[in-house]
């Protein structure tokens, strides 16, 4: 009496239709405003950098998977998304071969050696970015300066580092910082555009609010305390929020799914600690772009942070 046409399988028998490709599509959509703003302010070089990064990331991934006889996963859009996020934190003038090295490191050392997307302990984009920053510091700081602000040829955070807060405040208005009329990486300069993308991701529930909000809070409160009480010249917390990659860090880098914690407490501690470390590296470290280092360093703590979980029901 068995009916051979009846399917028997474990529940659930319906699905949310969530998918990896769907998440990546959301991230790509969320990156669009900042990316388009980058083209608007730095010109077509932005398209060049993004195209090389995206195409090469997908190609490196496909080649590695072919060589190791694994299934090709370019349709999940994760390689393309990583490629675009890396492009967002490169300067518009960067030579093409540097991008290729960056994406090669991102794809192979960042994730494929660990078993592919999902198994990577660190954010592959940041691994690549740090290698490029360490290896080619000159190429990584050749800026295009937006037309109406020619007095300063460096990114705001570099100016802060080298000339101090009063000088930086003199040359960068909050409006310039917030809108992104400064030198910087191609998709990182506009806090407004990144905020729009970030709010889109929060609205779509693609990212959880805990990491970005606690990260922003960490940066704001820590820099705010030193600005208020500190003994010495410190930039105000709004400067720290709007410059130096804080926004792209909060919404697009710290939220890298595989390398960030999943428990509620873990996420908040991760965000706060990354925010505070960002501020520390900026204020007393050697590099202006502390945000990227801080987030990468904190992913070392993810396995530990995931142990800080709520008590199981009834225990």
């Amino acid at each position: 009496m068995n009916d051979l046409r009846l399917v028997v399988s474990p529940w659930p028998h319906v699905h949310s239709e969530n998918s990896v490709a769907g998440i990546m599509r959301d991230v790509l959509i969320a990156l669009a405003p900042a990316f388009l703003f980058g083209i608007f302010i730095f010109g077509l070089d932005v398209v060049r950098v993004a195209l090389i990064a995206v195409v090469s990331a997908v190609a490196w991934e496909a080649a590695t998977q072919k060589l190791t006889s694994r299934e090709l996963t370019y349709t999940d859009l994760s390689a393309a998304t990583s490629g675009l996020i890396l492009a967002m934190i490169l300067p518009p003038t960067i030579p093409w071969w540097t991008i290729l090295i960056g994406t090669l490191i991102m794809v192979i050392l960042g994730k494929e050696v660990y078993g592919g997307f999902g198994s990577n302990p660190f954010n592959p984009v940041l691994v690549a970015w740090v290698v490029l920053q360490m290896s080619f510091p000159d190429y990584m700081s050749q800026w295009i300066v937006p037309g109406d602000n020619p007095a300063v040829t460096a990114a705001p955070m570099e100016v802060l580092k080298e000339q101090g807060p009063s000088f930086a405040a003199q040359y960068f208005s909050y409006a310039d910082l917030f809108l992104g009329r400064t030198a910087g990486f191609i998709g990182q300069v506009s806090s407004l555009m990144l905020l729009i993308g970030g709010i889109y991701l929060l609205w779509r529930k693609t990212i959880n609010w805990r990491i970005p909000l606690s990260y922003l809070l960490g940066v704001f409160v820590f820099t705010g305390l030193f600005w208020l009480l500190g003994d010495g010249p410190y930039a105000d917390p709004l400067f720290h929020l709007f410059a130096g990659g804080t926004m792209i860090g909060a919404f697009f880098l710290a939220t890298d799914l595989p390398s960030s914690p999943v428990t509620p407490q873990g996420m908040i501690l991760f965000g706060l600690a990354a925010g505070i470390l960002t501020a520390i590296l900026r204020m007393w470290g050697a590099w202006a772009f502390g945000a990227y280092y801080a987030i990468l360093i904190l992913s070392l703590a993810t396995p530990f942070l995931d142990k800080i979980a709520p008590e199981v029901y009834g225990r």
Partner: protein, 429 residues
């Protein structure tokens, strides 16, 4: 009234509840029923009838020390099947009865018995999942001196299903049943849990309830209907999943059980028909039926006008945590509260990919577990780690697998882990 709730779970795109709830229709008795002699947790009932025996409606056909089983049709015993496969896969004896066309006079053996005797001889079992004989449940409540009785008026997934219809149409009987159960369990307080979203259908319910019973509206999140979450929502208390609510002084019984208790104790009627919701492909909004126990699923589906030809999956329970069955010819038993139909085009064949540690499953898990870890440990054969991470606290509600972007069948892996660990435990004894 604000709906009490729990953290996690799913706010599903639940099918918009219909403007008018469908009434509980009484399906005419079928020509023939198959009645398995085990429809509850515990030992199988011994058959009390032989092939060819003439049966009155409601006569006893099976009996154990805590449960009884009755003829849901008057007629004669057509066959005694020694190993009839239940939908769970377990094989038990079953009695098949050929009806005589009309019900005739009902069996009267329940008259003159005490309340507890009536509960035993009514064949009442409780709930759509756990299936404990009500007598045993009452004894357990007495043993633990429970303070609180909670009546569960929630149904998986459907706000406008048969349980809401029963509460709407039989409010007085249910209120009487709650009073009876409260007296029998010696509980000091009683609560009736309903979906807040079902309140518009339940106008007369509050007035029908005695002052001692509190109406408690709960959220429509999945899986609010499960005992653990009813307890935490109403009483703000929790108990280990491997134990039972009686341990913390709470007894939970179903609204249909309260109805059955009233029928048994006040009207001497045994448990002969079951309320079921029919939903899914082929019906616009849930149909609510009262069906004689032992009627085949095929006949039930035909009765509501569902074409059985394009059915790809038949699920006992809801789409999120119901059990898919292998045959349309299984009988309605005491544990069937819902039939959910999927056409062949709706049946999913998910292609799982690597876990991306998105944590969506952690966010929805109502038991505050790490489903991706439990599933991954089981898949990789690390059962010791699965056990150390509380795999047995999983209630298999299906929320994790529902949201998983990698399409990992987490419930399946967790079930595998639990069964391997359980068999290892029993080997170790």
């Amino acid at each position: 009234m604000r709906a009490a709730s729990f953290s996690g779970g799913l706010r599903l795109p639940v099918p918009e509840a219909a403007e008018e709830i469908k009434p509980l229709e009484i399906m005419p008795p079928p020509e023939h029923v198959i009645i398995p002699l085990k429809q509850h947790v515990g030992s199988t009932c011994d058959p009390l009838v032989k092939k060819g025996a003439k049966l009155k409606l409601g006569s006893l056909i099976g009996e154990s020390h805590v449960a009884t089983i009755h003829a849901s049709l008057s007629g004669k015993v057509a066959e005694l099947n020694k190993a009839f496969p239940l939908h769970s896969g377990e094989k038990v004896p079953a009695v098949s009865i050929e009806g005589q066309g009309d019900d005739g006079p009902a069996s009267e053996y329940m008259q003159g018995k005490q309340s507890m005797g009536k509960i035993l001889f009514s064949g009442l079992v409780d709930g759509d999942r756990a299936l404990m004989p009500v007598l045993e449940k009452i004894q357990k409540a007495q043993k633990h001196r429970v303070r609180t009785l909670i009546i569960n008026g929630l149904e998986e997934f459907f706000i406008d299903g048969c349980k809401t219809a029963l509460l709407r149409e039989k409010a007085t009987d249910i209120a009487q049943g709650i009073t009876i159960l409260q007296e029998l369990t010696w509980a000091e307080e009683a609560h009736l849990a309903v979906y807040a979203d079902a309140l518009p259908y339940l106008e007369g319910l509050q007035e029908a309830l005695p002052a001692s019973v509190q109406l408690r509206p709960l959220s429509s999140k999945h899986p609010q209907y499960r005992d653990q979450l009813i307890v935490s929502s109403i009483k703000q208390q929790e108990y280990p999943v491997e134990s039972s609510p009686e341990e913390i002084g709470i007894c939970i019984m179903d609204a249909e059980t309260a109805y059955g208790a009233a029928r048994a104790v006040l009207h001497n009627e045994p448990f002969l028909d079951k309320c079921i919701t029919i939903a899914g492909s082929g019906v616009d909004s849930p149909r609510n039926l009262r069906v004689r126990l032992g009627t085949s699923f095929r006949e039930v589906l035909h009765f509501v006008g569902i074409d059985t030809e394009p059915i790809g999956k038949l699920i006992i329970g809801g789409p999120l945590s119901g059990m898919a069955v292998h045959s349309l010819d299984l009988p309605v038993t005491k544990d069937v509260g819902q039939l959910f139909v999927q056409s062949r085009g709706e049946v999913r064949a998910p292609q799982p990919v690597t876990c991306i540690k998105c944590g969506f499953c952690v966010q929805v898990c109502p038991m505050r577990l790490m489903p991706f870890l439990l599933s991954g440990f089981s898949e990789g054969g690390h059962f010791d780690l699965a056990e150390a991470n509380d795999i047995f606290s999983c209630i298999e509600c299906g929320c994790c697998a529902y949201v998983c972007p990698s399409n990992i069948p987490m419930v399946q892996w967790i079930q595998l882990g639990k069964s391997v660990i359980s068999s290892q435990r029993s080997e170790a004894l």
